[in-house]
């Protein structure tokens, strides 16, 4: 799952623009990623100018 650091986010929308699945919802001061639609392609993580997004490490069962 992609994690959002809401304290770093500037709500600029760069992540939304590169999301091929339209999984990101951005209003004035909120950013949400729909875990169902998201395929973790990492586009948003790479394109973010501020290191807001990261992939949560996958824990072994």
């Amino acid at each position: 799952m992609i994690q959002i650091d809401k304290y770093k986010c500037d709500f600029c929308g760069t992540c939304v623009s590169v999301c091929p699945h339209d999984a990101i919802e951005l209003s004035e001061t909120t950013l949400e990623i729909d875990p169902v639609t998201c395929t973790e392609c990492m586009n948003c993580v790479k394109a973010c100018p501020l290191h807001v997004l990261s992939e949560e490490p996958v824990h072994a069962e």
């Binding site: 500037d10 600029c12 929308g13 760069t14 939304v16 623009s17 590169v18 999301c19 091929p20 339209d22 919802e25 951005l26 209003s27 004035e28 586009n43 790479k46 394109a47 973010c48 100018p49 501020l50 290191h51």
Partner: protein
């Protein structure tokens, strides 16, 4: 806010305000919705415009201008400075005031404006866009319109909801960070562009003076060239090194679509303008002039289509056709140029700068710089030739 308008515009940047104003001037009832609390803020922009471009689209107001620029300087990776001939004068704007005034001009033309209005979906009936769903102050509203104009920026979703594929490819997004700084010393006559893989891979860094002690400084890096460092890291490194005492009064992030010409910018009952339609110049990233030019056409076509009671995809294709005639060729050439520029290594750029500095300053135009680059790097000749080949017609 009524629940029915001729035209609803989503987004109150230069594209949205212009489309809204023109449609209202042509007799439409228009509502413009802005998700933020204030039009014009935050400013996610380098704020520089060429004099010819801005004067072509607007009656330039003194209060929009922070600084007048005499010339452009290009800084090569090795630090060599190329002074470009003084044929491209321009301005560094106060975008905050500029955007606010454009929205005010729309309001004066009769446009209703609502801020803190978040559009979260479209009303679509039988494949025709008929309005928007909006959240405002905790309440949800369904508003109807004959035509919706999406001016919702790089993060545009309005087009996607109507089935248009408008997401930006990684190689076509510039991931940007920008600061407005004080307590620095700059030569206010020049806009500086720094090119280097160390400073801004796949993009450039700009220093646009807003006065003798202040500047808009920012950079963009190409999405596919991002590694562990983000745009903000590159920017902080540059400022720490070059302007260690700078006071950062504003820090913002942003994305710029530097993408191929987009022709799918309309659907039944819908048009896209500005960054939402990827109309920014793909080589410079500048988008204000194109946004205004396209939005004027969109506003006119919206009003005309409504008068004819025909908002079909076929009718609104006229908008794309006219936009292609006005800006399409340029856009296609600029994108090809960007593809060549991507191939130039830091070493190529250093050599080009060295050669161009042997040309007399008054002859150093952007075109002559490309000629020099061409003569020195024959391997790029096929790519450069492609740049100047006529662009194919639009989709229509």
């Amino acid at each position: 806010m009524q629940n029915k308008y001729d035209v609803i515009v989503v987004g109150a940047g230069p594209a949205g305000s212009t489309a809204a104003r023109v449609a209202a001037q042509k007799g439409c009832s228009v509502l413009m919705l802005e998700k933020d609390r204030e039009v014009g803020m935050p400013v996610r922009c380098g704020e520089a415009v060429g004099e010819k471009g801005i004067k072509k689209v607007l009656n330039l107001q003194d209060r929009w201008i922070a600084n007048k620029i005499d010339a452009v300087r290009l800084i090569a990776p090795n630090g060599d400075v190329v002074n470009v001939a003084h044929n491209e004068i321009g301005y560094v704007l106060h975008r905050k005031i500029f955007d606010y005034d454009l929205a005010m001009m729309a309001a004066d033309a009769g446009v209703h404006v609502v801020t803190k209005a978040y559009v979260y979906g479209l009303v679509i009936e039988d494949g025709v866009v008929k309005g928007v769903k909006v959240k405002h102050l905790g309440k949800e509203y369904t508003l109807h319109a004959k035509i919706v104009i999406g001016a919702d920026g790089v993060e545009s979703r309005v087009g996607r909801w109507a089935g248009l594929k408008t997401h930006v490819r990684m190689k076509d997004i510039e991931s940007c960070a920008q600061v407005t700084v004080g307590n620095i010393s700059v030569d206010r006559r020049y806009c500086d562009f720094y090119f280097s893989d160390d400073i801004a891979p796949g993009g450039y860094l700009w220093v646009f003076p807003k006065g003798p002690n202040a500047a808009n400084i920012g950079l963009g890096i190409a999405g596919h060239k991002v590694n562990s460092k983000a745009a903000i890291d590159y920017l902080n490194e540059f400022i720490d090194k070059k302007f260690p005492n700078a006071a950062k009064l504003i820090t913002v992030a942003g994305g710029v679509p530097c993408a191929p010409y987009m022709d799918n910018i309309f659907a039944s009952g819908l048009m896209l303008v500005g960054d939402a339609a990827h109309q920014a110049n793909p080589i410079s990233g500048g988008g204000i002039i194109q946004a205004i030019l396209a939005a004027e056409i969109a506003g006119e076509e919206a009003a005309a289509a409504i008068k004819e009671s025909d908002v079909s995809e076929k009718r609104l294709a006229q908008y794309e056709k006219r936009w292609f005639e006005k800006g399409g060729q340029n856009h296609i050439r600029a994108y090809r140029l960007k593809e060549v520029a991507y191939k130039l290594t830091d070493e190529d750029l250093n050599k080009t700068a060295e050669k161009i500095n042997k040309v007399r300053p008054e002859k150093r135009t952007i075109i002559s710089i490309f000629k020099v680059a061409l003569f020195n790097h024959p391997k790029y000749i096929p790519d450069i030739l492609k740049v100047f080949m006529p662009a194919k017609g639009s989709s229509s």
